[in-house]
Assembly symmetry: C2
Homo-oligomer: 203 residues x 2
């Protein structure tokens, strides 16, 4: 491949990914087609079929391209020493992003593709969600070292207890996703459901 | 409508719902069509279009028909007095159902329709999930009255902390959904993430 061909190929790739992301904001996802993406990107649909097996795979790469911005940087959660405050802030930012009209439809589309496509789910778990999940575990590990979290705590389960309810409520639309809700999820997950009376009076 | 017409209409309706449920087990959901359902049910596709606005709405009614079995019965969770044991048993049954090949694909299909369709989500929240959620709250309320759960606990948040991680892991395929996992979710949600050392030594 000559440098010019490589550059043209990269330009087409980015045009396709941008078109896929933009269209997934505008069009009901079931009606988003490879033809539509090709038309918006100004390429032939065969170009897309040659590079990607499905529209879900195109959308996934569009998300990867967006997350490339901070190249080489590992994501990290704030660590002020106050775990509850840090988690509350992070989840409030998550709510803002999930409710942002620019991202909501594309993220719903990606989530539902993952639900039906094990291969895409594996790629998502490794390349997009993996680094984020590690950042969440890191923050909890730091709190655990500081004696703030239970010693035997399973950090994967802990991450799921904090983020699972929020993502599930958002995706299933059980009720509006508000910061009042996520604040309460953080407090309740940290404290647990049990009455503390037993522990306290037994001390 | 004569009794015969009503009976024929009900027979067609059931044939359509059964066909929709069966096909959603067999066919990739994106490829499931009203035409396909009509052909399987032996009705004209106009009949389906007349009664339902989308294939998601047909699938939803198929789930409603399946849940009609226990007519008039309110769902209830077991209540042996041992909350942790009861929740563990219920979640183990949920895992078995979510991993059951007869239900997995149709339930994924319904979940993704809900993610994209606010009206369907509202119908789901009211008619299918509503009675189940009330049964979950009831069980927690009974434990709260027995002094086993914290007094000020928000029962909706508590339900989400127990079931949210499980549904989210299943739908997003983050990792296999096992009973080891759900057992740990129950224990961790009840106890909370915090170290109890502070409380205990302070007593």
């Amino acid at each position: 491949m000559t440098p010019n061909t490589a550059r043209r190929k990269e330009t087409s790739r980015r045009a396709i990914l941008t078109a896929a992301f933009d269209l997934s904001q505008e069009v009901e996802y079931a009606k988003l087609s490879i033809e539509g993406i090709a038309a918006r990107a100004g390429v032939g649909k065969q170009t897309i079929y040659r590079w990607w097996p499905s529209k879900g795979a195109v959308l996934f790469d569009a998300f990867l391209m967006l997350s490339e911005g901070a190249e080489g940087e590992q994501p990290a959660l704030p660590d002020t020493g106050d775990l509850e405050a840090d988690l509350t802030a992070v989840l409030r930012a998550t709510v803002a992003e999930l409710n942002d009209p620019r991202y909501e439809q594309p993220m719903r589309a990606l989530a539902t593709e993952i639900a039906h496509d094990p291969e895409l789910a594996a790629a998502y778990a490794e390349r997009l969600d993996g680094p984020l999940k590690e950042a969440k575990r890191q923050r909890l590990r730091s709190a655990q070292r500081a004696g703030q979290l239970a010693e035997g705590l399973d950090l994967d389960v802990a991450v799921d207890l904090i983020w699972g309810p929020v993502l599930n409520r958002w995706l299933q639309r059980g009720a509006p996703l508000t910061t009042e809700y996520t604040d309460l999820v953080v407090t309740t997950a940290l404290n647990g459901l049990r009455s503390r009376a037993t522990t306290e009076t037994a001390g």
